[in-house]
Protein backbone atom coordinates (compact mmCIF):
# COMPACT_ATOMS: atom_id res chain seq x y z
CA UNK A 1 0.00 0.00 0.00
CA UNK A 2 1.38 3.37 -0.96
CA UNK A 3 1.66 6.04 1.65
CA UNK A 4 -0.90 8.79 1.41
CA UNK A 5 -3.57 6.59 -0.12
CA UNK A 6 -6.95 6.89 1.53
CA UNK A 7 -7.33 4.21 4.18
CA UNK A 8 -11.09 3.90 3.84
CA UNK A 9 -12.05 0.46 2.68
CA UNK A 10 -8.45 -0.73 2.53
CA UNK A 11 -7.27 -3.14 5.19
CA UNK A 12 -3.88 -2.21 6.49
CA UNK A 13 -1.38 -5.06 6.29
CA UNK A 14 -0.69 -6.89 9.51
CA UNK A 15 2.96 -7.77 9.97
CA UNK A 16 2.26 -10.00 12.93
CA UNK A 17 -0.95 -11.89 13.53
CA UNK A 18 -1.52 -13.98 16.63
CA UNK A 19 -4.80 -15.85 17.01
CA UNK A 20 -5.78 -17.83 20.09
CA UNK A 21 -2.19 -18.72 20.87
CA UNK A 22 -1.75 -21.04 23.85
CA UNK A 23 1.44 -22.58 25.20
CA UNK A 24 1.29 -25.22 27.89
CA UNK A 25 4.08 -26.65 29.99
CA UNK A 26 2.40 -29.71 31.40
CA UNK A 27 -0.76 -28.41 33.02
CA UNK A 28 0.55 -24.88 33.33
CA UNK A 29 -0.58 -22.36 30.72
CA UNK A 30 2.42 -20.12 30.15
CA UNK A 31 0.41 -18.28 27.49
CA UNK A 32 -3.34 -18.63 27.65
CA UNK A 33 -5.34 -17.99 24.47
CA UNK A 34 -3.96 -14.62 23.38
CA UNK A 35 -4.75 -12.79 20.16
CA UNK A 36 -3.34 -9.56 18.74
CA UNK A 37 -2.08 -8.01 15.53
CA UNK A 38 0.72 -5.60 14.76
CA UNK A 39 0.43 -3.17 11.84
CA UNK A 40 3.12 -3.07 9.23
CA UNK A 41 5.72 -0.39 9.91
CA UNK A 42 4.60 0.26 13.46
CA UNK A 43 6.40 -0.03 16.77
CA UNK A 44 4.70 -2.44 19.15
CA UNK A 45 5.62 -2.79 22.82
CA UNK A 46 4.90 -6.03 24.63
CA UNK A 47 5.03 -5.53 28.37
CA UNK A 48 4.53 -7.75 31.36
CA UNK A 49 6.05 -8.81 34.65
CA UNK A 50 8.71 -11.52 34.60
CA UNK A 51 7.17 -14.92 33.96
CA UNK A 52 4.02 -13.46 32.38
CA UNK A 53 4.61 -15.15 29.04
CA UNK A 54 6.57 -12.50 27.13
CA UNK A 55 9.57 -14.66 26.29
CA UNK A 56 7.40 -17.62 25.37
CA UNK A 57 5.48 -15.46 22.91
CA UNK A 58 8.60 -13.90 21.40
CA UNK A 59 10.35 -17.30 21.16
CA UNK A 60 7.34 -18.82 19.43
CA UNK A 61 7.12 -15.92 16.97
CA UNK A 62 10.85 -16.35 16.29
CA UNK A 63 10.30 -20.06 15.48
CA UNK A 64 12.52 -21.44 18.23
CA UNK A 65 9.67 -22.74 20.37
CA UNK A 66 6.60 -24.68 19.38
CA UNK A 67 3.10 -23.47 20.17
CA UNK A 68 0.54 -25.77 21.80
CA UNK A 69 -2.48 -24.41 19.91
CA UNK A 70 -3.43 -21.33 17.91
CA UNK A 71 -2.09 -19.61 14.81
CA UNK A 72 0.86 -17.23 14.58
CA UNK A 73 1.80 -15.54 11.32
CA UNK A 74 4.49 -13.14 10.24
CA UNK A 75 3.83 -11.37 6.95
CA UNK A 76 1.23 -14.03 6.27
CA UNK A 77 3.62 -16.96 6.81
CA UNK A 78 2.81 -19.47 9.53
CA UNK A 79 5.57 -19.72 12.13
CA UNK A 80 5.11 -23.48 12.49
CA UNK A 81 4.68 -24.51 8.86
CA UNK A 82 6.80 -21.98 6.98
CA UNK A 83 9.68 -21.62 9.39
CA UNK A 84 12.27 -20.78 6.75
CA UNK A 85 10.12 -18.06 5.16
CA UNK A 86 9.45 -16.54 8.57
CA UNK A 87 13.13 -16.68 9.52
CA UNK A 88 14.11 -14.84 6.34
CA UNK A 89 11.81 -11.96 7.23
CA UNK A 90 12.77 -11.42 10.84
CA UNK A 91 15.71 -10.01 12.74
CA UNK A 92 16.14 -10.64 16.44
CA UNK A 93 18.07 -9.00 19.23
CA UNK A 94 17.84 -11.40 22.14
CA UNK A 95 17.91 -10.52 25.81
CA UNK A 96 21.25 -12.25 26.29
CA UNK A 97 24.33 -11.88 24.14
CA UNK A 98 24.28 -14.32 21.23
CA UNK A 99 27.41 -13.14 19.46
CA UNK A 100 30.43 -15.36 18.93
CA UNK A 101 32.89 -13.81 21.37
CA UNK A 102 35.97 -15.30 19.72
CA UNK A 103 35.21 -13.75 16.35
CA UNK A 104 35.53 -10.09 15.42
CA UNK A 105 32.57 -7.77 14.88
CA UNK A 106 33.12 -7.99 11.14
CA UNK A 107 33.30 -11.80 11.18
CA UNK A 108 30.11 -12.05 13.18
CA UNK A 109 28.28 -9.86 10.68
CA UNK A 110 29.76 -11.72 7.72
CA UNK A 111 28.67 -15.05 9.17
CA UNK A 112 25.19 -13.65 9.61
CA UNK A 113 25.15 -12.53 5.96
CA UNK A 114 26.12 -16.06 4.93
CA UNK A 115 23.29 -17.54 6.99
CA UNK A 116 20.75 -15.13 5.50
CA UNK A 117 22.05 -15.40 1.92
CA UNK A 118 22.77 -11.70 1.54
CA UNK A 119 24.02 -11.37 -2.07
CA UNK A 120 27.80 -11.64 -1.90
CA UNK A 121 28.36 -8.43 -3.86
CA UNK A 122 26.35 -6.49 -1.27
CA UNK A 123 27.89 -7.92 1.89
CA UNK A 124 30.68 -5.35 2.34
CA UNK A 125 28.41 -2.43 1.69
CA UNK A 126 25.70 -3.65 4.02
CA UNK A 127 28.15 -4.25 6.83
CA UNK A 128 29.50 -0.74 6.35
CA UNK A 129 25.95 0.61 6.41
CA UNK A 130 24.91 -1.05 9.69
CA UNK A 131 28.24 -0.35 11.39
CA UNK A 132 27.73 3.28 10.47
CA UNK A 133 24.18 3.21 11.75
CA UNK A 134 25.13 2.06 15.24
CA UNK A 135 28.44 3.90 15.11
CA UNK A 136 30.87 1.04 15.75
CA UNK A 137 33.07 1.36 12.66
CA UNK A 138 36.17 1.75 14.81
CA UNK A 139 35.64 -1.65 16.43
CA UNK A 140 35.10 -3.51 13.19
CA UNK A 141 38.11 -5.76 13.65
CA UNK A 142 37.98 -6.10 17.42
CA UNK A 143 37.14 -9.46 18.99
CA UNK A 144 33.64 -9.30 20.46
CA UNK A 145 34.88 -10.59 23.84
CA UNK A 146 37.02 -7.47 24.20
CA UNK A 147 34.08 -5.05 23.78
CA UNK A 148 32.09 -3.33 26.52
CA UNK A 149 28.46 -4.24 27.19
CA UNK A 150 27.16 -1.25 25.23
CA UNK A 151 29.31 -2.00 22.20
CA UNK A 152 28.23 -5.63 22.26
CA UNK A 153 24.60 -4.56 22.28
CA UNK A 154 25.18 -2.24 19.35
CA UNK A 155 26.96 -5.02 17.48
CA UNK A 156 24.01 -7.26 18.16
CA UNK A 157 21.57 -4.66 16.86
CA UNK A 158 23.73 -4.15 13.77
CA UNK A 159 23.70 -7.88 13.18
CA UNK A 160 19.92 -8.07 13.59
CA UNK A 161 19.60 -5.48 10.82
CA UNK A 162 22.25 -6.45 8.31
CA UNK A 163 19.94 -8.74 6.32
CA UNK A 164 17.28 -5.99 6.16
CA UNK A 165 14.52 -7.78 8.06
CA UNK A 166 10.90 -6.76 7.61
CA UNK A 167 10.12 -7.39 11.26
CA UNK A 168 12.61 -6.71 14.04
CA UNK A 169 12.22 -8.33 17.45
CA UNK A 170 13.93 -6.54 20.30
CA UNK A 171 13.82 -8.52 23.52
CA UNK A 172 14.83 -6.00 26.18
CA UNK A 173 17.42 -4.44 23.90
CA UNK A 174 18.59 -1.82 26.36
CA UNK A 175 18.63 -3.77 29.64
CA UNK A 176 21.88 -3.27 31.49
CA UNK A 177 22.93 -0.26 29.45
CA UNK A 178 23.76 3.13 30.90
CA UNK A 179 21.26 5.94 30.13
CA UNK A 180 23.52 7.52 27.52
CA UNK A 181 23.98 4.31 25.54
CA UNK A 182 20.31 3.54 25.96
CA UNK A 183 19.39 6.86 24.37
CA UNK A 184 21.85 6.21 21.54
CA UNK A 185 20.48 2.73 20.87
CA UNK A 186 17.02 4.24 20.56
CA UNK A 187 18.33 6.90 18.18
CA UNK A 188 19.67 4.12 15.98
CA UNK A 189 16.44 2.18 16.11
CA UNK A 190 14.35 5.22 15.22
CA UNK A 191 16.70 6.23 12.43
CA UNK A 192 16.50 2.79 10.99
CA UNK A 193 12.77 2.52 11.30
CA UNK A 194 12.34 5.74 9.34
CA UNK A 195 14.76 4.61 6.67
CA UNK A 196 13.47 1.09 6.13
CA UNK A 197 9.87 1.18 7.39
CA UNK A 198 10.29 -2.00 9.38
CA UNK A 199 7.91 -3.32 12.00
CA UNK A 200 9.36 -3.42 15.51
CA UNK A 201 8.22 -5.80 18.22
CA UNK A 202 9.70 -4.72 21.52
CA UNK A 203 9.74 -6.00 25.06
CA UNK A 204 11.19 -3.72 27.68
CA UNK A 205 11.35 -2.93 31.36
CA UNK A 206 11.59 0.79 30.66
CA UNK A 207 8.25 2.51 30.43
CA UNK A 208 9.67 5.61 28.78
CA UNK A 209 10.64 3.38 25.87
CA UNK A 210 7.12 2.04 25.63
CA UNK A 211 5.70 5.59 25.62
CA UNK A 212 7.04 6.26 22.13
CA UNK A 213 5.51 3.08 20.67
CA UNK A 214 2.43 3.08 18.46
CA UNK A 215 0.70 0.31 20.38
CA UNK A 216 1.24 -1.31 23.75
CA UNK A 217 0.03 -4.70 24.92
CA UNK A 218 0.31 -5.80 28.53
CA UNK A 219 0.41 -9.49 29.34
CA UNK A 220 -0.08 -10.93 32.80
CA UNK A 221 -0.50 -14.56 33.88
CA UNK A 222 -0.44 -15.58 30.23
CA UNK A 223 -3.33 -13.34 29.20
CA UNK A 224 -3.37 -9.98 27.42
CA UNK A 225 -4.93 -7.63 29.90
CA UNK A 226 -4.64 -4.42 27.88
CA UNK A 227 -3.91 -3.57 24.26
CA UNK A 228 -4.10 -0.02 22.96
CA UNK A 229 -2.12 3.12 22.18
CA UNK A 230 -0.14 4.54 25.11
CA UNK A 231 -2.42 7.59 25.11
CA UNK A 232 -5.64 5.60 25.34
CA UNK A 233 -4.21 3.33 28.00
CA UNK A 234 -3.20 6.26 30.14
CA UNK A 235 -6.58 7.88 29.61
CA UNK A 236 -8.37 4.71 30.51
CA UNK A 237 -6.37 3.53 33.49
CA UNK A 238 -4.64 6.48 35.06
CA UNK A 239 -6.26 9.87 34.97
CA UNK A 240 -4.88 10.65 38.39
CA UNK A 241 -2.49 9.14 40.89
CA UNK A 242 -2.60 10.68 44.31
CA UNK A 243 -0.14 9.98 47.10
CA UNK A 244 -1.40 10.97 50.51
CA UNK A 245 0.55 10.97 53.77
CA UNK A 246 -1.76 10.77 56.75
CA UNK A 247 -1.38 9.72 60.41
CA UNK A 248 -4.04 7.06 59.97
CA UNK A 249 -3.50 5.44 56.56
CA UNK A 250 -5.78 2.53 57.41
CA UNK A 251 -8.76 4.85 57.80
CA UNK A 252 -8.10 6.33 54.37
CA UNK A 253 -7.61 2.81 53.03
CA UNK A 254 -10.97 1.78 54.42
CA UNK A 255 -12.58 4.82 52.81
CA UNK A 256 -11.05 3.87 49.44
CA UNK A 257 -12.19 0.26 49.54
CA UNK A 258 -15.65 1.46 50.58
CA UNK A 259 -15.76 3.61 47.44
CA UNK A 260 -14.19 0.77 45.44
CA UNK A 261 -11.10 2.71 44.44
CA UNK A 262 -7.76 0.96 43.78
CA UNK A 263 -5.08 1.87 46.30
CA UNK A 264 -1.75 0.83 47.78
CA UNK A 265 -0.97 1.33 51.44
CA UNK A 266 2.78 1.35 51.90
CA UNK A 267 5.01 2.90 54.60
CA UNK A 268 2.26 5.20 55.84
CA UNK A 269 1.68 6.62 52.37
CA UNK A 270 -1.54 5.75 50.58
CA UNK A 271 -1.37 5.81 46.81
CA UNK A 272 -4.80 6.08 45.24
CA UNK A 273 -5.53 5.35 41.59
CA UNK A 274 -8.65 6.92 40.20
CA UNK A 275 -10.04 7.59 36.78
CA UNK A 276 -12.57 9.96 38.24
CA UNK A 277 -11.26 13.41 39.11
CA UNK A 278 -14.31 14.23 41.24
CA UNK A 279 -13.80 11.18 43.45
CA UNK A 280 -10.23 12.33 44.05
CA UNK A 281 -11.39 15.81 45.01
CA UNK A 282 -13.91 14.22 47.36
CA UNK A 283 -11.10 12.45 49.25
CA UNK A 284 -9.19 15.68 49.60
CA UNK A 285 -12.17 17.49 51.06
CA UNK A 286 -13.12 14.59 53.37
CA UNK A 287 -9.62 14.12 54.80
CA UNK A 288 -8.32 17.67 54.48
CA UNK A 289 -7.79 18.00 58.25
CA UNK A 290 -5.51 14.99 58.53
CA UNK A 291 -3.51 15.19 55.28
CA UNK A 292 0.16 15.81 56.08
CA UNK A 293 1.45 15.75 52.54
CA UNK A 294 -0.04 15.23 49.12
CA UNK A 295 1.29 14.61 45.63
CA UNK A 296 -0.92 14.41 42.59
CA UNK A 297 0.46 13.05 39.34
CA UNK A 298 -0.80 12.62 35.85
CA UNK A 299 -0.68 8.97 34.88
CA UNK A 300 2.27 7.35 33.12
CA UNK A 301 2.52 3.98 31.43
CA UNK A 302 4.18 2.70 34.57
CA UNK A 303 0.98 3.56 36.41
CA UNK A 304 -1.04 1.80 33.73
CA UNK A 305 1.09 -1.24 34.34
CA UNK A 306 0.77 -0.99 38.08
CA UNK A 307 -2.97 -0.46 37.89
CA UNK A 308 -3.49 -3.46 35.65
CA UNK A 309 -1.08 -5.99 37.07
CA UNK A 310 -0.78 -4.73 40.63
CA UNK A 311 3.00 -5.00 40.31
CA UNK A 312 5.89 -2.71 39.61
CA UNK A 313 7.31 -3.65 36.23
CA UNK A 314 10.78 -4.26 37.58
CA UNK A 315 9.68 -6.88 40.08
Amino acid sequence: MKRGMPRIGIRKMNSIEVEHFTKKYGDFNAVDDISFTVDEGSVFAFLGPNGAGKSTTINTLCTIQEKTTGALRINGNDVTKDKTLVRKDIGIVFQETTLDGKLTVNENLRLHCDFYKVPKAEVDERIRFVLDLVDIKDWKNAAVDSLSGGLKRRTEIARGLVHFPKVLFLDEPTTGLDPQTRANVWDYINKLQKQKNITIFLTTHYMDEAEICDKVAIIDHGKIVAHDTPYNLKKKYTSTTMKVKTPDPNLLGAYCSEHSMKFLNKDGVVTIFSTDVRAVMEIVSTFKGSIEDIEINKGTLNDVFLAITGKEIRN
Binding site: R87, E96, D100, G101, K102, L103, L111, G149, T175
Partner: protein
Protein backbone atom coordinates in the same frame (compact mmCIF):
# COMPACT_ATOMS: atom_id res chain seq x y z
CA UNK B 1 26.00 -24.84 0.75
CA UNK B 2 26.97 -21.33 1.74
CA UNK B 3 25.71 -21.87 5.29
CA UNK B 4 27.57 -25.18 5.64
CA UNK B 5 30.77 -23.59 4.42
CA UNK B 6 30.27 -20.62 6.73
CA UNK B 7 29.92 -22.90 9.77
CA UNK B 8 32.90 -24.97 8.69
CA UNK B 9 35.09 -21.90 8.20
CA UNK B 10 33.98 -20.38 11.47
CA UNK B 11 34.93 -23.48 13.45
CA UNK B 12 38.29 -23.74 11.71
CA UNK B 13 39.04 -20.04 12.28
CA UNK B 14 38.19 -20.50 15.95
CA UNK B 15 40.35 -23.59 16.19
CA UNK B 16 43.40 -21.87 14.79
CA UNK B 17 42.77 -18.64 16.68
CA UNK B 18 42.74 -20.45 19.99
CA UNK B 19 46.52 -20.73 20.25
CA UNK B 20 46.55 -22.76 23.47
CA UNK B 21 44.21 -25.29 21.97
CA UNK B 22 46.23 -25.56 18.80
CA UNK B 23 49.50 -26.00 20.70
CA UNK B 24 47.89 -28.56 22.97
CA UNK B 25 46.63 -30.45 19.95
CA UNK B 26 50.17 -30.66 18.62
CA UNK B 27 51.50 -31.61 22.02
CA UNK B 28 48.87 -34.31 22.57
CA UNK B 29 49.63 -35.85 19.20
CA UNK B 30 53.32 -36.06 19.97
CA UNK B 31 52.59 -37.30 23.46
CA UNK B 32 50.34 -40.08 22.19
CA UNK B 33 52.94 -41.10 19.70
CA UNK B 34 55.85 -41.30 22.13
CA UNK B 35 54.04 -42.81 25.09
CA UNK B 36 52.03 -45.37 23.21
CA UNK B 37 54.81 -46.42 20.89
CA UNK B 38 56.84 -47.09 24.03
CA UNK B 39 54.03 -48.98 25.77
CA UNK B 40 53.06 -51.00 22.73
CA UNK B 41 56.52 -52.00 21.65
CA UNK B 42 56.13 -55.48 23.08
CA UNK B 43 52.89 -56.17 21.17
CA UNK B 44 54.54 -55.20 17.94
CA UNK B 45 57.65 -57.27 18.43
CA UNK B 46 58.37 -59.66 15.61
CA UNK B 47 56.36 -57.77 12.99
CA UNK B 48 57.78 -56.63 9.67
CA UNK B 49 57.07 -52.94 10.22
CA UNK B 50 56.76 -52.39 13.98
CA UNK B 51 56.62 -48.61 13.57
CA UNK B 52 53.82 -48.85 11.02
CA UNK B 53 51.92 -51.22 13.28
CA UNK B 54 52.11 -48.86 16.25
CA UNK B 55 51.54 -45.62 14.45
CA UNK B 56 48.54 -46.88 12.54
CA UNK B 57 46.87 -47.74 15.85
CA UNK B 58 47.79 -44.41 17.39
CA UNK B 59 46.62 -42.37 14.41
CA UNK B 60 43.26 -44.03 14.40
CA UNK B 61 42.85 -43.53 18.14
CA UNK B 62 43.79 -39.87 17.88
CA UNK B 63 41.43 -39.19 14.99
CA UNK B 64 38.69 -41.05 16.85
CA UNK B 65 39.19 -39.14 20.10
CA UNK B 66 39.51 -35.76 18.44
CA UNK B 67 36.45 -36.25 16.28
CA UNK B 68 34.39 -37.33 19.26
CA UNK B 69 35.59 -34.53 21.51
CA UNK B 70 35.24 -31.76 18.95
CA UNK B 71 31.48 -32.05 19.20
CA UNK B 72 31.94 -30.11 22.42
CA UNK B 73 31.85 -27.09 20.10
CA UNK B 74 28.11 -27.05 19.92
CA UNK B 75 27.82 -27.32 23.70
CA UNK B 76 30.02 -24.24 23.97
CA UNK B 77 27.75 -22.52 21.47
CA UNK B 78 24.72 -23.42 23.55
CA UNK B 79 26.38 -22.12 26.71
CA UNK B 80 27.52 -18.86 25.10
CA UNK B 81 24.12 -18.19 23.53
CA UNK B 82 25.44 -18.26 19.96
CA UNK B 83 23.34 -21.37 19.29
CA UNK B 84 20.24 -19.15 19.30
CA UNK B 85 21.65 -17.05 16.49
CA UNK B 86 22.17 -20.21 14.44
CA UNK B 87 18.76 -21.64 15.27
CA UNK B 88 16.77 -18.59 14.15
CA UNK B 89 18.69 -18.29 10.88
CA UNK B 90 16.87 -19.45 7.74
CA UNK B 91 19.05 -22.52 7.36
CA UNK B 92 18.14 -26.16 7.88
CA UNK B 93 19.23 -27.94 11.00
CA UNK B 94 20.82 -30.58 8.79
CA UNK B 95 23.06 -27.89 7.34
CA UNK B 96 24.19 -26.93 10.82
CA UNK B 97 24.84 -30.58 11.64
CA UNK B 98 26.85 -31.14 8.45
CA UNK B 99 28.89 -27.99 9.01
CA UNK B 100 29.73 -29.15 12.51
CA UNK B 101 30.58 -32.69 11.43
CA UNK B 102 32.81 -31.48 8.61
CA UNK B 103 34.69 -29.08 10.85
CA UNK B 104 35.39 -31.59 13.59
CA UNK B 105 36.40 -34.19 10.99
CA UNK B 106 38.74 -31.68 9.40
CA UNK B 107 40.39 -30.93 12.73
CA UNK B 108 40.65 -34.64 13.53
CA UNK B 109 42.22 -35.39 10.15
CA UNK B 110 44.65 -32.53 10.65
CA UNK B 111 45.75 -34.07 13.91
CA UNK B 112 46.16 -37.44 12.16
CA UNK B 113 48.33 -35.80 9.51
CA UNK B 114 50.52 -34.27 12.20
CA UNK B 115 51.08 -37.73 13.70
CA UNK B 116 51.88 -39.24 10.33
CA UNK B 117 54.38 -36.45 9.76
CA UNK B 118 56.04 -37.01 13.12
CA UNK B 119 55.92 -40.75 12.39
CA UNK B 120 58.01 -40.32 9.24
CA UNK B 121 60.87 -39.12 11.43
CA UNK B 122 60.48 -42.15 13.65
CA UNK B 123 60.72 -44.74 10.94
CA UNK B 124 57.25 -44.90 9.41
CA UNK B 125 57.39 -45.99 5.78
CA UNK B 126 54.58 -45.19 3.38
CA UNK B 127 54.49 -44.60 -0.34
CA UNK B 128 52.33 -41.81 -1.82
CA UNK B 129 49.57 -44.26 -2.80
CA UNK B 130 49.21 -45.49 0.77
CA UNK B 131 49.30 -41.93 2.03
CA UNK B 132 46.30 -41.05 -0.11
CA UNK B 133 44.37 -44.12 1.07
CA UNK B 134 45.21 -43.37 4.68
CA UNK B 135 44.04 -39.79 4.25
CA UNK B 136 40.76 -41.07 2.84
CA UNK B 137 40.38 -43.48 5.73
CA UNK B 138 41.09 -40.76 8.26
CA UNK B 139 38.36 -38.61 6.71
CA UNK B 140 35.96 -41.53 6.86
CA UNK B 141 36.78 -42.19 10.51
CA UNK B 142 36.55 -38.48 11.27
CA UNK B 143 33.10 -38.17 9.74
CA UNK B 144 31.88 -41.39 11.37
CA UNK B 145 32.90 -40.40 14.89
CA UNK B 146 32.12 -36.70 14.56
CA UNK B 147 28.58 -37.78 13.73
CA UNK B 148 28.56 -40.04 16.76
CA UNK B 149 29.94 -37.23 18.92
CA UNK B 150 27.43 -34.69 17.65
CA UNK B 151 24.62 -37.18 18.16
CA UNK B 152 25.68 -37.66 21.77
CA UNK B 153 26.14 -33.92 22.25
CA UNK B 154 22.65 -33.17 20.90
CA UNK B 155 21.34 -35.86 23.20
CA UNK B 156 23.09 -34.64 26.34
CA UNK B 157 22.93 -30.85 25.70
CA UNK B 158 25.22 -30.15 28.62
CA UNK B 159 28.96 -30.42 28.80
CA UNK B 160 29.09 -32.34 32.08
CA UNK B 161 26.64 -34.97 30.83
CA UNK B 162 28.46 -35.10 27.53
CA UNK B 163 31.84 -35.70 29.18
CA UNK B 164 30.43 -38.62 31.15
CA UNK B 165 28.75 -40.15 28.10
CA UNK B 166 31.92 -39.71 26.04
CA UNK B 167 34.09 -41.49 28.57
CA UNK B 168 31.57 -44.30 28.89
CA UNK B 169 31.41 -44.68 25.11
CA UNK B 170 35.04 -44.06 24.28
CA UNK B 171 36.62 -46.42 26.82
CA UNK B 172 35.10 -49.73 25.68
CA UNK B 173 35.27 -48.74 22.02
CA UNK B 174 38.97 -48.03 22.38
CA UNK B 175 39.94 -51.12 24.33
CA UNK B 176 37.73 -53.52 22.41
CA UNK B 177 38.98 -52.41 19.02
CA UNK B 178 42.30 -54.18 18.81
CA UNK B 179 44.22 -50.93 18.59
CA UNK B 180 45.99 -51.50 21.89
CA UNK B 181 45.14 -55.08 22.79
CA UNK B 182 45.06 -57.61 19.91
CA UNK B 183 41.53 -58.93 19.38
CA UNK B 184 42.80 -62.52 19.29
CA UNK B 185 43.65 -62.52 22.99
CA UNK B 186 40.23 -61.26 24.12
CA UNK B 187 37.83 -63.62 25.92
CA UNK B 188 35.04 -65.14 23.81
CA UNK B 189 32.45 -63.28 25.88
CA UNK B 190 33.66 -59.91 24.60
CA UNK B 191 34.07 -60.93 21.00
CA UNK B 192 30.53 -60.01 19.83
CA UNK B 193 31.15 -56.48 21.09
CA UNK B 194 34.44 -56.44 19.27
CA UNK B 195 32.67 -57.34 16.04
CA UNK B 196 30.00 -54.69 16.54
CA UNK B 197 32.55 -52.01 17.27
CA UNK B 198 33.13 -49.73 14.28
CA UNK B 199 36.55 -48.94 15.62
CA UNK B 200 37.60 -52.59 15.19
CA UNK B 201 37.16 -52.39 11.43
CA UNK B 202 38.66 -48.95 11.28
CA UNK B 203 41.78 -50.16 13.01
CA UNK B 204 42.04 -53.29 10.88
CA UNK B 205 41.66 -51.45 7.56
CA UNK B 206 44.14 -48.88 8.69
CA UNK B 207 46.68 -51.51 9.68
CA UNK B 208 46.07 -53.39 6.46
CA UNK B 209 47.04 -50.32 4.49
CA UNK B 210 49.82 -49.13 6.77
CA UNK B 211 51.50 -52.54 6.92
CA UNK B 212 51.26 -53.19 3.14
CA UNK B 213 49.35 -56.45 3.60
CA UNK B 214 47.89 -56.61 0.08
CA UNK B 215 49.84 -59.77 -0.71
CA UNK B 216 48.93 -61.79 2.38
CA UNK B 217 46.56 -64.74 2.22
CA UNK B 218 43.29 -64.78 4.18
CA UNK B 219 44.52 -67.01 7.06
CA UNK B 220 47.56 -64.80 7.41
CA UNK B 221 45.33 -61.72 7.59
CA UNK B 222 43.21 -63.35 10.28
CA UNK B 223 46.34 -64.21 12.17
CA UNK B 224 47.56 -60.62 11.95
CA UNK B 225 44.26 -59.42 13.37
CA UNK B 226 43.13 -57.38 10.38
CA UNK B 227 40.58 -59.89 9.07
CA UNK B 228 38.06 -61.61 11.31
CA UNK B 229 36.73 -65.13 11.29
CA UNK B 230 33.24 -65.24 12.79
CA UNK B 231 32.13 -68.87 12.82
CA UNK B 232 33.59 -69.57 9.44
CA UNK B 233 32.49 -66.24 7.90
CA UNK B 234 35.51 -64.12 7.16
CA UNK B 235 35.37 -60.35 7.29
CA UNK B 236 38.04 -59.02 4.98
CA UNK B 237 39.61 -55.59 5.63
CA UNK B 238 37.82 -53.92 2.74
CA UNK B 239 34.53 -55.29 3.88
CA UNK B 240 35.46 -53.69 7.20
CA UNK B 241 35.77 -50.37 5.38
CA UNK B 242 32.24 -50.84 4.12
CA UNK B 243 31.15 -51.53 7.70
CA UNK B 244 32.66 -48.21 8.78
CA UNK B 245 30.80 -46.43 5.99
CA UNK B 246 27.54 -48.11 7.02
CA UNK B 247 27.96 -47.38 10.72
CA UNK B 248 29.07 -43.85 9.88
CA UNK B 249 25.98 -43.36 7.72
CA UNK B 250 23.73 -44.62 10.51
CA UNK B 251 25.23 -42.24 13.02
CA UNK B 252 25.16 -39.42 10.50
CA UNK B 253 21.43 -39.98 9.98
CA UNK B 254 20.79 -40.35 13.71
CA UNK B 255 22.76 -37.21 14.40
CA UNK B 256 21.00 -35.07 11.79
CA UNK B 257 17.68 -36.38 13.04
CA UNK B 258 18.48 -35.82 16.72
CA UNK B 259 19.89 -32.40 15.98
CA UNK B 260 16.79 -31.51 14.00
CA UNK B 261 14.34 -32.30 16.75
CA UNK B 262 16.39 -31.30 19.80
CA UNK B 263 14.87 -28.32 21.62
CA UNK B 264 17.82 -26.09 22.40
CA UNK B 265 15.69 -23.09 23.29
CA UNK B 266 15.01 -24.27 26.81
CA UNK B 267 18.58 -25.18 27.55
CA UNK B 268 19.83 -23.06 30.38
CA UNK B 269 22.12 -20.37 29.09
CA UNK B 270 24.84 -18.87 31.18
CA UNK B 271 24.24 -15.16 31.12
CA UNK B 272 27.46 -13.73 29.88
CA UNK B 273 28.35 -10.41 28.35
CA UNK B 274 26.33 -7.34 29.17
CA UNK B 275 24.39 -8.81 32.07
Amino acid sequence: MRAIRAILMRNLIKFFRDRMRFIFTLFMSAFFLFVFSFVMKSTAAGLDHPMNYLISGIIIMTVFQTALNNSMNILEDIASGFMKEILVAPIGRWQIAIGQILSSSAIAVLQGIIIVTIGFFMGLTLDPFHCVIMLGLMMLVGICFSSMGLFLAALSKESTTFQIIISIVAMPLTFLSGAYIPTMVMPALLRPIVFLNPLTYTTSVFRYVALHMENLSTPELVKAGVAFDIHGFTIMPYFGAVMVVVIGAIFFALCVNQFGKADFSRVKVFRRGHR
